[in-house]
Symmetry: C2
Subunit: 128 residues, 2 copies
């Protein structure tokens, strides 16, 4: 019944293989989008399609360049995000979701729906 977690935690993983994959599917998902930045990156890219680095950073709001870069890297490695660099001056790099990344939409949607209802409850005052 127990879903053991692979030692070491969830963040900054490289691409999972069948061997190191947790038995529990929920944990598998946590393995790939287990921190808030990854979720927010996902949200932006799924909303706007293709975005440049700065654009992404500004739209997420309070995220440092370093953290954005590192999260984008790991999401590249896990196959969620596609990165395309253009040899221009000044440089331009565009990020978008891969097909795999797109499949996470239902998860995001569920989160969005819940958040909306929650706020509605709060507004109505009929919570708890």
């Amino acid at each position: 019944m127990t879903c053991m977690i692979a030692d070491g935690g969830f963040a900054n993983m490289t691409a999972p293989t069948l061997e190191n994959l947790p038995a529990c599917p929920v944990e598998t998902t946590l393995l790939l989008i287990g921190n808030k930045w990854q979720v927010l990156i996902l949200r932006e890219l799924s909303l706007r399609g293709t975005m440049r680095f700065k654009e992404l950073q500004r739209s997420i709001g309070k995220i440092s360049q370093k953290v954005l870069t590192s999260n984008l890297r790991t999401m590249e490695e896990t196959g969620l995000v596609h990165r395309e660099a253009f040899a221009e001056v000044p440089p331009r790099v565009e990020y978008s979701l891969t097909d795999l990344g797109q499949t996470l939409r239902p998860v995001l949607d569920a989160m969005r729906v819940w958040g909306e209802n929650y706020k509605e409850q709060l507004r109505g005052g009929g919570l708890r």
Copy 2:
């Protein structure tokens, strides 16, 4: 378009009010279940209904008593988890989801479904 994050991050929040609630519903959800432990606690309780402390700890696997306690506390404060202590020797404390906590099921389900499909993809070898 931007969904600014309330300063200070997501973890260990007290019960949100309309004022400190983020504009973006996805962030609202992250505010309440933004770390892996909270998700795993949710998974166990939604799966098995009511559980004692030790039971919960064992079924989650690698979680220390301290972390489990603290996460349960914050989930109590945010109204996701119900706690009931019995005046017995030895003590018995039972945890369960509140009605509000139950409403998070669709989010968990979406995560579960995605994790299953992902593993299926890996097995088939047709990923990326």
